[in-house]
């Protein structure tokens, strides 16, 4: 039985269908990624899952129990730990106080004995403090114990927020962009931390994340949202090469990419073939933007030979294309990628890809498409994301 089972989740805000028919499964011990371009509905999905929004249709089941309509504080008490995109903590309180506040649901004494000052209260307050200190030590944050949270740097805040989520003693942890505000090194470290935390606390995690290396590093499974629908799901390495996903990220907004693309009927046909060939595909074809067709034919060609090989090769094509969104560059690079794959062993191809992509694309595409882009090391598909 999955820890978290989201079925046919839909929510509408006025004229905007923020989520439509979203299905997400998170199994015990899994770290599942939820990715997608801005406005895709990732955070909305989080809010529905954690009870902050009431979905119009669909259900959220936690270990078999229907918790769709349960208020957020009860979900928190039953094991949903979450963080927020813009850091959810009590800013005027110290780090230690925040960690104590986060343990609220696990506190055994009731309000009245607390007000009366029963001895059990004192004892338990001490325990809360010990646990808070233990978490600070675990995250190497002991130095900010008595610092007011409002004055901390963004990266530290994010880490401390993770600590607060841990302090709620969660069973499943929902992290909304845990690495935002962190540099590449810090986010690598975060990835290690998440893996360690999973091991030590037996946690299951669902995370929204834009930092692709982190997703590749920690996620067992990835769901891709676009325009409120599930676009694809699968293993991170597979998702990375998924043409629909690539298209969704690059969108129709990259002008150079658009200009150099001529959509032919054959392209479209090939595109469809690709979609069918790849496992899961919830998106409707008309919603696709042109770049999808631009990349997919190549992939389709590659796929024709061997499916898995195509997957490992495709990132290179993607990377090359986004790296230099010029028609010539992309076109010359793509065949090369395919060729390289044919000769080189598969792992080498797929490993080389992220690195290659990491260097190049950050400069151009993001500036055009997403002025608010903050992490320079974002790669290929993630370029367009903003926080």
């Amino acid at each position: 039985m999955p820890v978290l089972e989201v079925r046919d989740l839909s929510i509408r805000f006025g004229g905007l269908q923020a989520l439509e028919g979203v299905n997400i499964d998170v199994n015990e011990w899994e770290i599942v990624g939820l990715i997608g371009p801005n406005g895709a509905g990732k955070t909305t999905a989080f809010n529905c899952i954690t009870g902050f929004y009431k979905p119009n249709t669909g259900s959220v089941r936690y270990r078999g129990q229907d918790v769709t309509r349960m208020p957020p504080h009860r979900k928190a008490a039953m094991g949903f730990g979450r963080t927020f995109q813009n850091v959810g903590m009590v800013k005027s309180a110290t780090a230690l106080e925040n960690l104590k506040t986060a343990q609220h649901a696990k506190i055994g004494y009731d309000v009245m004995s607390g007000l009366a000052g029963a001895s059990a209260t004192w004892r338990e307050e001490k325990e809360l403090e010990d646990k808070a200190n233990a978490i600070l030590d675990l995250l190497d944050l002991s130095s900010i114990r008595s610092t007011k949270v409002g004055g901390l740097s963004y990266g530290t805040l994010k880490l401390l927020e993770l600590g607060c989520a841990l302090a709620t003693d969660p069973d499943i942890l929902l992290l909304d962009e845990p690495s935002s505000g962190m540099g590449p090194d810090e986010s690598d470290e975060l990835g290690e931390r998440l893996l360690v935390l999973r091991k030590e606390f037996g946690l299951t995690m669902l995370l929204i994340e834009h930092h692709v290396p982190l997703v590749l590093r920690v996620c067992d499974h990835v769901y891709v949202l676009n325009f409120g629908r599930l676009l694809a799901e699968g293993q991170p390495s597979v998702i990375q090469t998924h043409p629909e996903v690539v298209a969704a990220y690059l969108g129709g907004e990259a002008p150079e990419a658009l200009a150099q693309t001529q959509v032919t009927d054959e392209d479209a046909a090939l595109d469809e073939a690709t979609s069918d060939a790849l496992e899961h595909d919830a998106a409707d074809a008309p919603a696709r933007r042109t770049p999808a067709r631009k990349t997919s034919p190549r992939k389709a060609a590659a796929k024709a030979s061997t499916k898995s090989a195509a997957k490992s090769a495709a990132p290179k094509a993607t990377a090359a294309k986004s790296a230099a969104p010029k028609a010539t560059a992309a076109k010359s690079a793509a065949p090369k990628a395919t060729a390289a794959k044919a000769t080189a062993p598969k792992p080498a191809a797929s490993e080389g890809t992220p690195a290659a992509a990491k260097k190049a694309p950050a400069k151009r595409a993001p500036r055009k498409v997403a002025p608010a882009d903050e992490t320079a090391s974002m790669q290929a598909g993630a370029d367009e994301e903003t926080a």
Binding site: A76, L115, K148
Partner: protein
Amino acid sequence: MAVTQAAAVGVDAGTPEAARPFRPSLPGLVLRGLIFAGLAYVVLAVLPANADRAGKASDAVVFAMVGISLNIIIGYTGQLSLGHQGFVGAGAFAAAYSSTKQGAPFFLALLIAMAVTGIFALLLGLVALRITGLYLALITLVFGLTLEVSLFEVQEFTNGGQGQPALRPDWLIENSRFYYFGLALLTVIVYVDWRLTRTKTGRALLALRENERVAAAFGINVTAYKLLAFVMSGVIAGLAGALFGYRFENVTGADFDFFLALTYVLMVVVGGLNSRVGVILGAVLFSPFGLDNLFEIDSVHDFVAGIPGIGEGRIQFMPRMIGAFLLIQTVVLNPGGIAQQLRPLTSWLGGKKFSLHGDKDSGPGVVEGSSARA
């Protein structure tokens, strides 16, 4: 604050907060002890020595209770209540009516007063669940004004406009005893309020004041704690109201006009939100025992009356003038109020090292620069 920190040092010794290896020296301890002894002497012996002074000091005690009550709403939950005179009035009338008209014993009358205002506060709390900020302030304003012209005008309660008698029991007839009794209740209230800020309740209120979503993510029942805050505030205000009634042994609707509500807000803000010491000092200052009393002292009276431009005729406006001035300087210069300015002193009294820059380890209830967000 002093209360809080004194306890923090005494009880949490060994915790990281006390890890800073500062221990007051022996002369320091003696000096602090002497100051506390002096304060205790003034509060416990000097004030009640004279019946008239004891009466005014009990006014200050009642104001202090209202201050703590109001601080729970303005300080801890971050909402503005402009109708607190309604709670106090409801408490006063409930106690007076139940004891005089229904013959309830003194303590039962106090409990009834607390229950009645608790219910009023619960109703207002239900409103506060849906409305916050300025609009809630307006609703509390209307709440107070409505009580003034409705409940406080009912013939049965007001005894036909003459005021409802609220006679003290025999053992409280002396003003000094009444003062001691009020002081004892105030001590209990301060203790409860201190426990509130030091337990999960205070942390929950702080969290939901800042961000209700975060609070909910921490497993805090936002609805329940908001209601709890309002009910606690109402119950304390009701007790204060009952004492208010017994203090003058007669309750009239005119006692609870809107100006009183403003005075309450003023004293809490000027005293220092989220600070018990500040709120109590503010309450004393704005109570009849404070500024009003000050200008009745002959030497002060004569001196101020002698200042050109003020004179005998205008001296009655002086307390309000000073109140307004204090409010302005609080809002502009030190949002923490009197408590903020006294913090070096109070934290020194609490056993910390003397420092003009304050300390970082303030408890959860102490928020730098916080003010009512209307």
